[in-house]
Amino acid sequence: SWFRALALGVSFLKCLLIPAYYSTDFEVHRNWLAITHNLPLSQWYYEATSEWTLDYPPFFAWFEYALSHVAKYFDPKMLVIENLNYTSRATVFFQRFSVIFTDILFIYAVRECCRCVNGKRAAKDILEKPTFILAVLLLWNFGLLIVDHIHFQYNGFLFGLMLLSVARLCQKRYLEGAFLFAVLLHFKHIYIYVAPAYGIYLLRSYCFTANNADGSVKWRSFSLLHVTLLGLIVCLVSALSLGPFIVLGQLPQIISRLFPFKRGLCHAYWAPNFWALYNAMDKALTIFGLKCNLLDPTKIPKASMTGGLVQEFQHTVLPSVTPLATLICTFISILPSVFCLWFKPQGPRGFLQCLVLCALSSFMFGWHVHEKAILLAILPLSLLSVQRAKDAGIYLILTTTGHFSLFPLLFTPAELPIKILLMLLFTVYSFSSLKSLFRRERPLLNWLETIYLVQLVPLEIFCEMVFPLTPWKRHFPFVPLLLTSVYCALGITYAWLKLYVSVLTERISVRQKAE
């Protein structure tokens, strides 16, 4: 019954957020409702009246199509393609409510994940049970709340699919897990970041059905049946999704829509990943070089000096980065975790660790990464955080910095108290609940990490309150974004490295124990 209370409570809060600010993503989805409702299948990926063209895989288009049939009872005018930026009250209410309603899948998935968390630390107090804490950390996740219910997106039910597939894999229902993930990929292709984890885990633990005594793979236990079943599932789902478009010969168009590499290395606001640090270093070296007269001012492209917000920019001092370079970096960075998963699978926990590391590594080195993608790492890490103190410490750093980096998404004055209060609510809860869960072990964070996190407060005060009142605001409007991005990038990089080290050293010690 406490689960129901938590789920209902957060749903009511989501209803209260209906009149809040929404971003252009609102118009994006309204446009997709209109496109899928009015046009035949063959034109879905060609329609370009609005600048917000369809750039999600076909299952999401079908989802919008289904929604559009409900939308016509609320306000049929929102389904007219030419009604750009149409925002009647009925439209806002319908769209907001559709996000709240589809979150039911997320709530169900959280319930399934809570079942997978072992209740070894059976505490009498409900507030100290790992399942309760996990439920709050997932259902009331700050990032998901503000991205879905204020900024406006449909990540709730998508993460529901992902968490459900994770739960199924934890329950050793491999085929269901694989099926759910395949479906998810065809809803939003960003989840391809974590596909290697799924692929290797299913291959290792499902296709090879037994291990040797020392834990290494028993090659003889390869099951052709399992491989065939998995292959069938993936092919069937892909056929259902892409089939009609392949028949129409539209596959290249879809691929160009789904993977627009023409966009720059970084989003207008740099996601706090490795490239943010790289850009900052490039800028710093440029300024240093100019001051020391090592660089010729006339040769520097104007954009890189005033920008930070320009989508395509070339680096001045450091070599420019191409999409291929980011792909190679990402591939190299996920290799150790994938190798770990192959050579020493530790069951579902090992899979989750690899999943989080794949998500984080892709976030660190990906091309045109959105800061919202940090949620791909934060949500699965919640499952690990309630089980081990070390993971809890890393979770606190990642989640606090990750959530803080989402602040620039909500820049309107009316939403400022909401984001600060919600962030405080989640941060206070996560810190105090995890601290009380692991109170018998050593402190979750050392003094350096604590100081880093505390410094987020003055940073926020400076960016939101002090800076707008200074004269620099007119000449350097990007400074708060730059500072936020770079400072958070430090924290996220640190969390990523710490998690990697912890996973690798854990494997090594396990292997030593086995020997």
């Binding site: 809060l13 108290p417 209060l421 609510l425 105090s432």
Partner: protein, 272 residues
């Protein structure tokens, strides 16, 4: 979990609900010529800032009492004056005499909502927290649950942060009065309740219990000794509190009479 983190979470949740409710519409939004309680509060800021005290409660050429005349006691007027000073710093158009009638804009709405939010945060919420913490023989969980229930009470949230009023100030002061009396700080309790009463005359509904409790305490202590001393002290405190609130109006007796009469009429007929 420790009681302070639980209470912090409760308060944060209460604040979030309050602010999200205030994203919505307010009383009389976009409804000329009279608008609603929101315009009334804005008008009082205009009146108290621009006009001298002697004109606040009187029908003059600059102050038309039929258009949201001030019908709460002076403390509301002083609170409006304080808000007006802040409004002047941000945008003087919000309280310009006559020209700001029916003023509506997003920044102004944000300002007005913030004044209610801050008043709630400074007066009502601390009173509730102290009240819940001072409950005896109750577990931490029960204390925090009580605070959660009280702070999430929808009636007060919707009226104050939705419709637009400042009930949390007078209710908060009354609760401080109750708290003080529970610790036997009778004089402080009297002051607190006097403040509540001088903010909104609706607190008269609570005045009888306060009066009878304090009088009964005096009787219990014995009217020949300590009880009489206490009675004199309380009476003195109440008289001084009222005097302090009403001092600026006491320029002449005629004024006081002129204020007292329509005031009592307003008390009987105002919607509160």
């Amino acid at each position: 979990m420790e009681k302070w983190s639980l209470m912090t979470i409760t308060v944060l949740l209460a604040l979030i609900v309050r602010w999200t409710v205030s994203l919505g519409s307010y009383s009389g939004a976009g409804k000329p010529p009279m608008y609603g309680d929101y315009e009334a509060q804005r008008h009082w800021q205009e009146v108290t800032y621009n006009l001298p005290i002697r004109q606040w409660y009187f029908n003059t050429s600059d102050n038309n009492l039929l258009y949201w005349g001030l019908d709460y006691p002076p403390l509301t007027a002083y609170h409006s004056l304080l808000c007006a000073y802040i409004a002047k710093l941000i945008n003087p158009d919000w309280i310009a005499l006559h020209t700001s009638q029916g003023y509506e804009s997003q920044p102004h709405k944000l300002f007005m909502r913030t004044t209610v939010f801050v008043a709630d945060l400074l007066v009502y919420i601390p009173a509730v927290i102290f009240y819940c913490f001072s409950l005896k023989e109750t577990s931490t969980k029960k204390k925090v649950s009580s605070a959660l229930c009280i702070l999430l009470y929808p009636g007060l949230i919707l009226i104050d942060h939705g419709h637009f009023q400042y009930n949390s100030v007078s209710l908060g002061f009354a609760l401080w009065g109750v708290l003080a009396l529970s610790y036997d700080w009778d004089l402080l309790g009297s002051v607190a309740f006097c403040l509540a009463l001088n903010y909104k005359q609706m607190e008269l509904y609570h005045s009888l219990p306060f009066f009878c409790y304090l009088l009964g305490k005096c009787f219990k202590k014995g009217l020949k000794g300590k009880g009489l001393v206490l009675l004199i002290k309380i009476t003195g405190t109440v008289v001084v509190s009222f005097a302090v609130c009403w001092l600026p109006f006491c320029t002449d007796m005629e004024q006081i009479m002129q204020v007292a009469l329509p005031f009592s009429l307003f008390f009987f007929f105002s919607p509160g």
